[in-house]
Symmetry: C2
Subunit: 240 residues, 2 copies
């Protein structure tokens, strides 16, 4: 998508985290990775190995000395931060950050930056940003792994940019088709008749209520016509 | 939260993934980790190291031989799967899965299970599940790291269970207060008067339009009263 942000890792320390970030970027369709002063130099074999099939993101990553250079074409910059900063700046949730990027439209080139593993972004880094992005975490342990933080942001980016293609829920039927209500009623009639010949319905007064309960179990099960035939067979077999 | 699902890792292979999963679980307030037949045995030092300060989740993890035992108290089981399965079963997005868990209420004990790194859950595992959960990923590279998949699910769990406490956007002012419109007008008047004494407004016809444009820059900036005073100082200093 033209709205896709660049991901900027500022002074990352651990190669595996860079690789894991690259992999999850591609999982969610992002490819523009920029890295500022990686501690262990570049290229980094651990990053490449951890990226698995997203090695193209690693190979195309751009390395910079400083944040200003990395942002030469960036018009909206978001700084991820867990700690409260004494700087007056809008703070967005991950979802709201992506909505803000989409809101500014395709002529805007945005980036989301992440600080180093042990103490995050510096105040100087954050000063350049339009807004702070905070991933909502539980107070019990708020320190999230760098690549996991990248994952959450990339995930929000993907689902908000692809809302029209994403279904909250579906059931794949393939070549199967759901049984119609007459087929379901036929199964219930078969079961009821067979049970009538046993002493299952001990009290006549409960006969109707019991049948309604049993009917409801199968009504809820989204049975296919094939499954209805299977259950007819099960009832007949049990009866023998 | 009473609605919090257990996380079940089925035959995980890599200790670091188990540890990263435990860490991100606690980041999002989840603590019930169950592991079925971890390849490298248990305890696993790599898992413990990777969990960082979520070592309690690792220490309290329960190890099982098989899925049925792990689900002894589970009433709703969700299977994460990327591949299409030839089984007729509801498929939910990550968000919808959590909504389903919340929908079934606190008397329900749910679990979300994740398969092994190289080929996911078996059809036998999935057969026991109420529904399949699919994390929406880009077609270009759909294979998501195990701990990253756990992260997305735990994140959705946290934000959907804490909607009332999560703000999409806020600006922390601390002890600062925003400038009122009179203070802003005062700054614009100061700037305009100083500029009138220069040849900045070369054409009289553009004077008003230019002032409106400049005013708009500062009107958009959410200036505090302290920042207004700073800008008065900047204008005076430039003039000298």
């Amino acid at each position: 998508m033209a709205n896709d942000p660049a991901i900027i890792l500022v002074r990352p320390q651990i190669g595996e985290n860079i690789g894991a970030a690259a992999r999850v970027m591609l999982n969610f369709g992002l490819t523009d990775l920029r890295i500022i002063a990686p501690r262990d130099g570049w290229p980094n074999e651990k990053a490449t190995n951890m990226a698995k099939k997203a090695v193209s993101v690693i190979e195309n990553a751009k390395i910079y000395d400083n944040l200003t250079d990395a942002c030469h074409d960036i018009t909206k910059l978001y700084a991820t931060s867990a700690r409260q900063r004494y700087m007056i700046k809008p703070e967005f949730s991950a979802k709201h950050c992506i909505e803000d990027i989409i809101n500014f439209g395709e002529s805007n080139k945005s980036a989301i930056m992440f600080g180093q593993e042990n103490n995050g972004l510096s105040n100087e880094d954050i000063n350049l940003a339009d807004a702070i992005v905070t991933i909502d975490v539980a107070p019990i342990y708020s320190s999230i792994n760098l690549a996991q933080a990248v994952a959450i942001i990339c995930y929000e980016c993907y689902i908000n940019n692809n809302k029209q293609n994403i279904e909250d829920s579906k059931t794949r039927l393939g070549n199967a088709k759901l049984a119609n209500k007459q087929e379901l009623a036929g199964l219930m009639k078969h079961l009821s008749e067979e049970l009538d010949q046993t002493n299952f319905f001990q009290e006549a007064s409960k006969h109707k209520k019991m049948l309604i309960n049993i009917n409801n179990i199968f009504a809820r099960a989204n049975l296919t016509d094939q499954e209805i035939r299977t259950l007819h067979g099960v009832i007949s077999a049990l009866k023998k």
